[in-house]
């Protein structure tokens, strides 16, 4: 039972019973979690069939989140993109400041339906953590957020927001101390506390059914954007562009355009210091198929199957895995994935701020940088849709250091 804003089960794109999109997906989890993961799948199927679930989620998406989100044309920015027209889908204007709230509200309602009283989640940039802490405050759920220690430092504002909302934030000190390690720690918590705890997974990765249900909760992004751009530009875009870490905002944007084969779907991965440097998080560009965090997908790994440490200036993209449906879309040739370096993303962040008065998240700035390149390729007749997945307030410390804004040396430094 769908609603205007909750539109599950796109035709032809439901994973197999075992959770596979082609060769990718599945459920590689310890036996201790099988019952809990199966419970999520069963409850999601029940919820989809329940008009009350769709109605409650719809009400939240409209009156709490503020959907539909705006579509903004950015001509002064587009002047740097070869003259192509560029429209931004403004997920940054959602309550909590990113697309993450779409999925979180859906899963929070599932948590209540399952009778669980505690929620755990991982977060990289803190956007999923903030959204989860927000929903837990709204629904009176106990909330623990795992965040890599490196990320708690570079996204300190979001740590404060989560704690203000009443969540416990645990800084994870193992491994690379980033998103991957936060997920490891969240899984350890879940195994030990699964009776009363739901793991509110934040991206379209993880074991089945998470890639499917997180995608379904984000499909609203593309459904709205497709309708809006048809109204405003009178035609479909030449390309839909989004950043990809785990891939949730990208899959949300892409999905409504899958049948529109004339629309190129372009995911921008974190190229860090460049692919040649080895310091990046470009999983689809440089990875190989393997298993990480419960599903088969592309991963950054060595020949022994050890996961290699990713790098990105963006905490939200600093992840060595990717949702399995993206791996499927890459191998099927339906979507393209490009690596965008730290420097390219930061330049795009500043450009959008100064030409349009919109400060994007560093994650989303990767998509903006991709759009600049793409616009130059398409020329003046091009029409590009970019998902502006989050706002950049949280990144002001990183940006100020990068551009030398604290001591007004900007320009000399960069």
């Amino acid at each position: 039972m769908s609603s205007e804003f909750f539109i599950p089960d796109p035709e032809g794109h439901i994973p197999s019973a075992e959770g596979y999109f082609g060769a990718f997906g599945g459920k590689f989890i310890p036996e201790a979690l099988v019952a809990a993961v199966d419970e999520v799948a069963v409850e999601y199927e029940k919820a989809k069939a329940d008009p009350a679930f769709a109605a409650e989620l719809n009400d939240l998406l409209v009156n709490y989140t503020g959907r539909p989100s705006a579509l903004t044309e950015v001509p002064r920015f587009a002047a740097h993109a070869g003259g192509a027209r560029v429209f931004l889908k403004r997920e940054d204007l959602n309550h909590t400041g990113s697309h993450k709230i779409n999925n979180v509200l859906g899963q929070a309602l599932l948590t209540k339906r399952m009778g669980k009283t505690r929620v755990i989640a991982e977060t990289g940039a803190g956007q999923h953590g903030v959204a989860t802490a927000t929903a837990c405050a709204l629904f009176g759920l106990e909330c623990t957020i795992y965040m890599g220690e490196v990320d708690t430092e570079r996204q300190a504002l979001n740590v404060a927001r989560m704690r203000m909302l009443g969540a416990e934030v645990i800084a994870v000190k193992s491994g690379s101390r980033t998103l991957k390690d936060a997920i490891n720690e969240a899984f350890r918590d879940w195994v030990a506390n699964v009776d009363r705890t739901h793991y509110l997974f934040g991206t379209v990765a993880g074991p089945h059914p998470f890639p499917q249900l997180v995608r379904d909760f984000h499909r609203v992004i593309g459904v709205e954007a497709r309708r809006q751009i048809l109204e405003r530009a009178g035609r479909l875009p030449d390309a839909a562009v989004a950043c990809v870490g785990g891939g949730s905002n990208a899959i949300g944007l892409f999905h409504a355009f899958l049948p529109d084969t004339g629309v190129r779907l372009i995911g921008c991965e974190a190229g860090g210091h460049g692919l040649a440097s080895g310091e990046h998080a470009a999983t689809l560009a440089a990875g190989t198929p393997g298993i990480l965090h419960g599903s088969r997908s592309y991963v950054l790994q060595d020949e022994d199957g050890q996961i290699t440490e990713p790098y990105s200036i963006s905490a939200g993209l600093d992840y060595p895995g990717i949702g399995p449906e993206h791996s499927y879309l890459k191998d099927a040739g339906r979507a393209e994935y490009r690596a965008v370096t730290d420097d390219e993303a930061m330049q795009a962040l500043r450009l959008l701020s100064r030409t349009e008065g919109i400060i994007p998240a560093i994650e989303s700035a990767h998509a903006l940088a991709g759009a600049l390149d793409l616009g130059r390729e398409l020329g003046e007749d091009g029409l590009i849709l970019v998902n502006l997945s989050g706002r950049g307030d949280k990144d002001m410390d990183t940006a100020a250091r990068y551009f030398g804004l604290y001591d007004a040396t900007e320009g000399a430094a960069k």
């Binding site: 809990a36 491994g175 393997g290 022994d304």
Partner: protein, 271 residues
């Protein structure tokens, strides 16, 4: 060359014939170094373990608590590779004649090649594999390779496993069943709860395979308690702790041997 599944079966059967539980020890390969790790695994067997599991250290050990995470970190920083894990199996088995299994997350096996890993493990004298994040539904490719190469496939069951799943899992497994004593990651615990006994009872109802209990067992008293109701007692983190706490390797090996001896007495105390 065929693997040593029969050696594993006969070792567990011998313990049962003696009316005692078997003692199964765990240490990761490459900890603290590859050569010293071989000595540590051998010391567990010399001290009184009937069977050992050699851990394949992984970058993302999501089912392990801080103790084994620390050991894995040390091993990986030392550069341990899958070939070193296989050498640890080979050397420990050659030195003692005991059954040696590998315990590993699935991705390293997947990356190494399923058939190649099974063939190389059998060739090294290994007895089987425990794959805690490979659910039975995804295990067919591995099980075929294991069967072909004479290796046991040990599945983990948990207190949350429903009876129908216990039947399905144990029907696919060989060697023994690894019963997780509690819902949680590896690590020593103050006590092993009633959950373990209940899980063993439910598992025995659906299989003839020996049922060994792991997670949380750290001393002779706990081993004796578990031995009352299980066919085997699995101890890992407690051995790692002894090595981590020792001032030097020789002291660590002495401590490992001593712990194995105490636990071996524990598993022989059936009322």
């Amino acid at each position: 060359m065929s693997g040593n599944i029969e050696l594993l079966n006969s070792t567990l059967a011998a313990a049962r014939a003696e009316n005692r539980a078997a003692l199964v020890g765990y240490l990761p390969a490459g900890f603290p170094t590859v050569d010293d790790g071989v000595r540590a695994v051998t010391a567990m067997l010399e001290g009184g373990c009937d069977v050992v599991e050699v851990g394949l250290p992984h970058s993302d050990p999501v089912l392990d608590g801080p103790v084994i995470q620390t050991a894995d970190d040390i091993a990986l920083r030392g550069g341990v590779k899958i070939v070193d894990v296989l050498r640890t199996v080979r050397d420990a088995h050659a030195a003692t004649g005991a059954p040696v299994l590998v315990m590993t997350y699935w991705n390293p096996v997947d990356a190494y090649g399923v058939e190649r890993f099974a063939a190389d493990l059998a060739e090294a004298g290994g007895a089987g594999c425990i794959l805690p994040d490979l659910p039975v539904e995804e295990s067919e490719v591995w099980r075929k390779a294991a069967e072909q190469h004479g290796l046991a496939t040990v599945f983990v069951v948990a207190p949350s496993s429903r009876d129908d799943r216990l039947a399905r899992i144990t029907a696919a497994g060989t060697g023994f069943v690894y019963a997780a004593s509690l819902m949680g990651v590896t690590g020593t615990r103050e006590s092993v709860g009633h959950e373990a006994q209940e899980l063993v009872r439910r598992t025995r109802a659906v299989t003839e395979l020996p049922v060994c209990v792991g997670l949380g067992v750290s001393d002779a008293a706990q081993a004796a308690e578990v031995a009352q109701f299980a066919d085997g007692v699995i101890v890992g983190s407690a051995f790692v702790k002894r090595l981590l706490a020792a001032p030097d390797l020789e002291a660590g090996l002495t401590a490992v041997r001593a712990l194995a001896g105490e636990l071996a007495q524990g598993v022989r105390k059936r009322a």
